[in-house]
Subunit: 152 residues, 2 copies
Amino acid sequence: MKAKDILVKPIVTVSSQTPLTEVAQKMLEHRVGSVVVVDEKGRLAGIITQGDFCRHPGRMVPFSLFESPNVLSNWLYPDQVEKVYKAARNLRAQDIMHSPVVTVSPEASLERVLALMLKHDINRIPVVRRGRVVGIISRFDLLKVMQQGYGA
Amino acid sequence: MKAKDILVKPIVTVSSQTPLTEVAQKMLEHRVGSVVVVDEKGRLAGIITQGDFCRHPGRMVPFSLFESPNVLSNWLYPDQVEKVYKAARNLRAQDIMHSPVVTVSPEASLERVLALMLKHDINRIPVVRRGRVVGIISRFDLLKVMQQGYGA
């Protein structure tokens, strides 16, 4: 089996200019832990996981803010809450995304996908053909292949 | 192969009375996404993942607070920061833990471990013998088994 046989699509993408508020909304709406960032030509530019929302000094808007809006009103005055949301609207996908991204081609073997996932300790690998993302493979998807191998 | 053949130990545990500040410190120190909660008799009481820090209304202290302490000083006045830390010291593991926990016995087949992980969409399953946790199995551990199957 190859990457193209198990990849999942459609993938959830954002543009490099998408505000963090929308990035978070997309993740919550599609119940995914990461989104793929593409440039204006549709080419892979980066990837964003929930943890990336808090990775960069000076550009930190915790993902939990979007997941549990109450968390802020627990601790902040209304004017502060508005400040945080404003920052989240002004920050763009490109400000917090990971890049470069570990990718595989559609023809990559599952052994290779698995080896890359374990080596880099990542949960998802975009499948890319000529710079364009054609799907994504997660740990979950590989475990499902493993389950089929057991004849379950 | 059985659960006992691939379980990982020692596991990172906290008591049900451990303050959230310490729970978070343990996760960061051991670089794990979850800790197992045991009661005073050493029996499995629950499990805590990073997401659980923000799951319960009125008991929300975002995990990112511990991961990136600066995130708060970006947005809060010093007296507010102190209030959040105080809450984190007063909240206990038992206040945010998941319970009951999906577990397997050491004799469980890997097929069963895998099926439970996929069914419940969870990343880790504690292995329990007579109420006591003897190890834990993660998606990563199962993927390593899969890799061995490929002869890598």
